[in-house]
């Protein structure tokens, strides 16, 4: 089973929820898809870490064989090729690795070469497998890195284990890629008007993908909670409400895993995971013994 944790904005508590869900599951794989700034590994401190390069194919043009016919330039939908001085010029940052130019070239002057765009780290933290994707600085899109993280998750995520996908913030391509194979989506929301606005964006996204989903209300106070009101109004599943708590904030900033620090939080995340599994129609597989 794969559970994706996402939110419309950064700082709502995605990593808090994802890390603690992975920590209470008996056997779990934690996959950090926030490849622009992954931070889940800071909590797990994985050991026996192996490193893997993420590469994509980009065209390599042999100008000795290029006739300057312009077919490749006219074909490219991403404007990664321009026709300058009767030859194609290539802009790697815009290439989506579709391979069309290679197939199309009548002179067979274009071949593919590998371009490194990021890294994957796979390690262990007790019974948890920790997969971290990191996009190289300056790259335009982390989609290929995320795809590789999820490929590793599928390899490690055997029957009976729970895969937790820590998504990037927002609702753009990188988030769509991250939730594509998820069985259930957990949406983390803040109790503000801005939080609600962003929550609505991710609700729209998960509905577009026909994913079953529930909401975790984080940083709840005694004050009005527009996100909670919206959930009640629309009859959406609220999986848990986490109170605003400076102690919890302190633990997180110290890199501690909350469920290991206090039985109350352990209980909260065990019941959250149970609820998710029930909602998703899976058998319970949580670790009730601390």
């Amino acid at each position: 089973m794969k559970i994706a944790v996402l939110s419309g904005k950064g700082g709502t508590g995605k990593t808090l929820v994802a890390v603690n869900l992975a920590a209470v599951a008996k056997n779990s794989v934690y996959a950090d898809c926030d490849v622009e700034e992954p931070n889940g590994y800071l909590f797990f401190q994985p050991t026996e870490v192996t490193k893997h390069q993420v590469t994509v194919s980009i065209p390599s043009i042999d100008y000795n064989h290029c006739s300057g016919c312009r077919k490749c330039v006219d074909f490219c939908q991403f404007n990664a090729l321009a026709y300058i001085a009767q030859k194609p010029a290539f802009f790697a940052d815009l290439c989506h690795s579709c391979g069309g130019c290679v197939l199309l070239c009548p002179e067979h002057a274009i071949s593919e070469k590998q371009n490194t765009i990021g890294k994957i780290f796979i390690g262990r933290s007790k019974t948890i497998t920790v997969i971290t994707g990191i996009m190289d600085t300056g790259r335009a899109s982390g989609v290929s890195v995320i795809r590789q993280v999820l490929h590793c998750l599928n390899q490690k995520n055997k029957t009976g284990t729970i895969g937790i996908i820590d998504c990037p913030p927002g609702s753009a391509c990188i988030v769509m890629e991250s939730i594509r194979e998820a069985d259930y989506c957990v949406l983390v929301a803040e109790p503000t008007i801005f939080g609600l606005h962003n929550l609505q964006m991710v609700i729209e996204l998960v509905q577009l993908f026909n994913k079953p989903f529930g909401i975790v209300l984080n940083k709840c106070t005694a004050d009005a909670n527009p996100s909670a009101e919206y959930c009640h109004e629309k009859n959406l599943t609220i999986l848990a409400s986490i109170a605003f708590d400076k102690k919890l904030g302190q633990l997180v900033s110290d890199g501690q895993i909350a469920v290991h620090c206090d039985p109350l939080w352990h209980e909260l995340f065990v019941s959250l995971l149970d609820k998710i599994i029930k909602e998703a129609g899976y058998e319970a597989a949580t670790d009730n013994q601390r």
Partner: protein, 120 residues
């Protein structure tokens, strides 16, 4: 020789953006004849700078007058050997006059591009 200027919806003013300008004005420097062409990159999801530069390069342009230019487009113009001159007025006529008098300097500040993130 031809000169290109990014122009806005009014078709009389210089557009603040090059890659996302709605039109380009192509001016024949010998005959002073002006033609307006559509910028095919106005709604491109990515690579607008390259696509816009391509449409201008295809017009056999020898100089571009623009208030600014992104990195990718600038690279394409450089490869094509087409210099960029920085406009100082919103008026197309004033910009052309300044260029003809040799008053415009080559564009120095090439911005890194907005790449789908908007900006102003």
């Amino acid at each position: 020789m031809n000169i290109a200027i990014p122009v806005d919806e009014t078709k009389t003013n210089v557009c603040a953006s090059l890659g996302r300008a709605p039109y380009f004005m192509i001016i024949n420097a010998n005959t002073s004849e002006k033609t307006i062409i559509d910028n095919p990159a106005i709604a491109a999801s990515g690579g607008a700078g390259i696509k816009a530069a391509q449409s201008v390069i295809d017009q056999n342009v020898k100089a571009i007058l623009t208030p600014r230019c992104g990195m990718n487009a600038a690279e394409a113009f450089k490869a094509a050997g087409i210099p960029l001159y920085q406009t100082v007025s919103e008026s197309i006529d004033q910009s052309l006059e300044a260029f003809n008098k040799g008053e415009l300097i080559e564009l120095q500040n090439i911005h890194p591009g907005f790449h789908g993130r908007g900006g102003k």
